[in-house]
Every structure is written in structure tokens, then in C-alpha cells.
Amino acid sequence: MRFSLVLLFLMMLAPVSTTLAENDPNPFNRLFVPPKERIKTLKDDGVHDPQVPGLDLLQQPADAFKPLPTSSGGNYVNWVTALRTGKIKPRYSQADPKLEAMPMDMFIVMEVKGSMPNVSFPHKAHTEWLECTNCHGEIFVPKKGANRMTMAEIMLGGKCGICHGSVAFPITECRRCHSEAKQAAKTSTKPKK
């Protein structure tokens, strides 16, 4: 009851606030576009041709993502959680319906110069989707410490940046990789007995 009253009140306010917003030099967000407003529909996303017959048949990203766990960048979907909680069930192989992923649970801690926390690379979250040869071949040498990389390289689409910045969560989510406090890392790089 109280809720519907509030709703009514808001509805009465709505036309006033939109006219205000147009001329208001001090809107709450001036430069920042909140995520909800950023993703337009396929018709006005600037990439699709709004004239294409059958555009209505294609799925709107927002509809697809509605039931999925959220994150703060990229698709605004936490794909790792979506997979682990069974919210999505991608087929591991398109050729062999019986094939299942064989995730490997191993962390590689990389020491980071400067003040950012060290990077902990989780093999599991990657091998749930990918095969060893997707990375170990042209991208990464399978040897700890043998893969030197810089943030600049990653931002320009090298190494981690091949996927993180084009299809997987982007590098603006610093803390998902820089997650290992420096002291803790010193002990965890020693081989575990």
C-alpha cells in the first residue's frame, strides 16, 4: 500500500523531472553514463542497421543478461559465477556432446612491481571454458615466471588483453586479477607440501 503510494507520487513527479533534466545544468551524472542507460537496444546501438528486416528477431543483450549474476564492467555479467551456479550451461564441445571440461585447479601468483597487489592467475576459471592449447602455444609459455608482461601491453590487446578487453571482463576490474596481498604472496609462492 505504502509502496503504491510512493509509486503514484513518483509517477506524478516524472514529467516534471524530465523537463527539468533537459535544462538542468547540474544533473546528478554529468559525464558518467550509468550502465543501465549505456546499453541501448539493437536498433539504436550504432552498429546494427536499424533498417535490417528481422532485426526484431535478434535477442536484446539486456534480456539475455537479466537472469545472470552481475559484474561491474564489460557485459556487466559475471560469467564465471554464471557458469558455476548453472545459470548458463554452455556445451563444452560443439562436435562431441558427451565431452566435458576437465578444469585444472592451480593458481599462478605473479609478483607485481609497484604498489598494486600481486596477480593471482586461476587456471580453473580458464580451463572451465578453454583448452590448454588455446593459451599454451602462441600466447603463454607453460613455465612459471617465463611470461613477462606489462599493463600497457595488456591494454593494447596482448597476452591477458587478447580476451580481457574484448570478450572477457575488461581490465578496469583491476582487483579481480590484482587480488593477492604482497606478504601473503611471499609464502604462497613456495611449493606447498
Binding site: 532485426l55 560443439q94 588483453g161 574484448s166
Partner: protein, 137 residues
């Protein structure tokens, strides 16, 4: 915001780049289409058809990366697999699934060829695209 500056203290270059990119990503109002929409236009515009939009996010809900990037030989760079219509009709790349058995077949031209005319090959909203604005790969 303040917290971020603190973390980057001590490394000027990275701090600068990180700021530039954060600002660009957060404030670019021209960025619109979904993250991971891949536009393919090696041949389309030249052949007089609309370029292709491959909704990467849509497919990863249904298939693991390995399905396409190992089994179908699709490489990790937009446009680099040189997918064309002949290969698709032969059952390669998109044609491995869009064959009327696994998913709708190639006769639905407009579902794939849906990009605005002359849209260059790119991964929309990619960090690289945003950093090197104007240079669409």
C-alpha cells in the same frame, strides 16, 4: 576514485594509462553496442552486402570457447579467420552450426548481415578500440 589514485602511486606511466582508459571507458557516451559484438567486414561491403555482426556474448552462453576456438579453428582476432560465404556453406566456421540442423541455416541472410553499411571489422567496445579511438583495428 581517490582510492584508485592511491593504488597507482609510484608508477607514473601505468597510472597515466590506467586513468586515461578508466576515464574513456566510464565517460565515453558514444559507446553503445554490447561489449563483444564482433563486426566482420573483410568482404561484405565490397560485395555489396551489409557487414556481419557476430554476437559473441550470445554464443558464449551456449558454447565453451573451445568449441569454436579449438574445434572450428577460429582464431583470437576479429577478421583473422577470413570467414567467407563459401566456407560457411561448406560447413566450416559459422556453417558448422548454422546448417539447419544445430541452428538456423544460411538462408537467413539478414540475421547475420545486420550491421550498418561500411561498418569496419572490429570488436565493439574493446579496450583496444576505445584506446585507439578512430582506428577500428
Amino acid at each position: 576514485m581517490k582510492a584508485i589514485t592511491l593504488h597507482f602511486k609510484g608508477n607514473g606511466l601505468i597510472a597515466c594509462m590506467a586513468w586515461a582508459i578508466t576515464l574513456l571507458i566510464l565517460f565515453s557516451s558514444s559507446a553503445q553496442a554490447e561489449y563483444g559484438d564482433v563486426v566482420l567486414n573483410n568482404y561484405s561491403s565490397d560485395a555489396g552486402v551489409r557487414p556481419v555482426i557476430f554476437p559473441h556474448w550470445f554464443h558464449r552462453i551456449r558454447y565453451s570457447c573451445k568449441s569454436c576456438h579449438s574445434e572450428l579453428g577460429i582464431v583470437f582476432k576479429a577478421g583473422a579467420s577470413k570467414i567467407d560465404m563459401a566456407k560457411i556453406v561448406n560447413g566450416e566456421y559459422c556453417g558448422a552450426c548454422h546448417n539447419g540442423v544445430v541452428a538456423w541455416s544460411v538462408e537467413n541472410c539478414d540475421l547475420c548481415h545486420s550491421a550498418a553499411n561500411d561498418m569496419p571489422t572490429q570488436v565493439h567496445m574493446s579496450t583496444r578500440q576505445i584506446l585507439l579511438k578512430g582506428d577500428a583495428k
